[in-house]
Amino acid sequence: MGSSSGSGKKNDKGPLLSPRVRVKGSGSGAGGATGGTVERERPETVCLTSFEVDLQQLPILKPRLPLTLKGGQVLLSGTVVGTLGARRRAMVEHCEELGVKYRGTVERRKQIYYGLFRKY
């Protein structure tokens, strides 16, 4: 939708979907053939810009300490401090194949520590 003040409704929008690559003779006219296009998967459509992970509330946690991901586990200086859910782990592994990596930090909200991971 268009808007003359601002960029429309923010939560209407997901990542922009690119057109599929059209191969010759594709398109749907009256009785036209369907299919004949391939989607080029783009990281923007499957990889979240950032996501949060629950952490075990261990004494070693301090705000802004760096976190890493390995095999679905969240590590702080080699110590496991959290685990990714199955869906999130699948997304991270898939995004790695697409060339997107995540870097995280320990954050604190209302005395509870959590991990915040962002694309880089």
Binding site: M1, S5, K13, G14, R20, R22, G31
Partner: protein, 364 residues
């Protein structure tokens, strides 16, 4: 000029014909605009978008358009209201929205809407009670996630042939985002992509009504030139995002005035979601006979328990509270809302006719 504009290719003059002054109004970074759902000059798949849009020239698009006798007011029921049975006195043309025709088109994900995995056109939607005996127009509008997804997957889901089975009298071109403050390249591409959608729709046998967005003189001029060259004389303007601010409505009214003056006396415009109050229709008098209004307000108001009526003293639509207890009462409240709008628009016609008669008497 904002810092974002410094890195925009349209502002840098890499796209001849695009006005740099207007392009400099960009209010977000072109580099990562696609992550936030906007099309920009720095999109990694820009070439695919340019190919889909078939370039930046509106006049290269072959849209025939359609001419239908439209009533002054057309209701746009939401999906929840489609089982209401309205009396025969209700308008003969109703409108539907893409989001209601493709009900599983989007789902919520991480706080925003995402395009569904297997969206299908509900081909039985046109047979719902509210549409019986009526002609249907389709507004190809909806959340950005839906319209972008349908634009991408239109061939995969055989969209146009499915829509044709609804028996539509016509459909608007798809309502892709054209927002003031977005990259100008993205704005122009989406305007052109909308027209390529219209041409494909016409090839599939659905008469097209181009949906117009224009925020500056350059875009208004391009649209006027396209309409003159193509002979299209029925267009729509989606005002649903503009209705919140008087300044936004002023943009729409300026576009209406410009097109009506430049294109010709046979141009008709459907205004989708234009706020119907005396305050906003002021200034549209000379073109009023060629404007057609469509909105969902009677249905929305009925769901909210508000009964609308036209007050000839104030000259506006007013309301009182009454919650419907059953579907028949809900239908009656909806019908009251429709009648209020028809009477409001009729009152504008009557006042205008009286004014013109008075004017001609004075001239004589």
């Amino acid at each position: 000029m904002r810092l974002d504009a410094v890195f925009c290719d349209a502002v840098a003059g890499k796209y001849p014909g695009m006005p740099r002054e207007e392009a400099a109004r960009v209010r977000q970074s072109c580099a990562n605009a696609h992550e936030h759902g906007s099309l920009s000059c720095k999109n990694p798949d820009l070439q695919l978008f340019v190919e889909e849009a078939d370039g930046f020239d509106l006049k290269s698009k072959r849209v025939t358009g359609t001419r239908i006798d439209l009533p002054r007011y057309m209701p746009v029921p939401d999906r929840d209201s489609a089982d209401l049975e309205l009396p025969a006195s209700a308008p003969g043309i109703f409108c539907v929205r893409l989001g209601d025709v493709v009900p599983n088109g989007v789902h919520a994900y991480e706080g925003s809407l995402r395009f569904g995995k297997s969206p299908r056109v509900d081909t039985s939607y046109a047979t719902r009670p509210i549409f019986r005996g009526r002609t249907l127009l389709l507004f190809s509008s909806g959340p950005d996630a839906l319209v972008n997804g349908l634009m991408r997957d239109r061939d995969q889901i055989d969209l146009f042939n499915e829509l044709r089975s609804l028996g539509l009298a016509a459909a608007t071109s798809i309502d892709l985002s054209v927002n003031l403050g977005d990259c100008y390249v993205g704005q122009m591409l989406n305007i052109n992509r909308g027209l390529t959608y219209a041409t494909e729709m016409e090839k599939a046998g659905i008469p097209a009504i181009p949906n117009i967005y224009a925020f500056d003189t350059n875009q208004r001029t391009l649209w006027a030139e396209f309409l003159v060259a193509s002979g299209v004389r029925l267009v729509s303007i989606n005002c649903r995002m503009q209705r919140r601010k008087p300044s936004d409505i002023a943009f729409v009214k300026e576009t209406i005035r410009f097109l009506m003056e430049q294109v010709g006396a046979d141009l008709h415009i459907i205004l989708h979601g234009f706020p119907l109050s005396r305050r906003y229709v002021t200034g549209l008098g000379p073109y009023f006979s060629r404007l057609h209004f469509a909105d969902s307000a009677p249905f929305y108001k009925a769901h909210m328990g508000e009964v609308e009526f036209f007050n000839p003293v104030s000259g506006n639509i007013e309301q009182y509270h009454r919650k419907a207890t059953d579907r028949a009462e809900m239908a009656a409240i909806v019908q009251a809302g429709i009648a209020a709008r028809e009477n409001f628009l009729l009152s504008i016609d009557v006042r205008r006719a009286a004014f013109m008669a008075n004017l001609s008497t004075r001239v004589v």
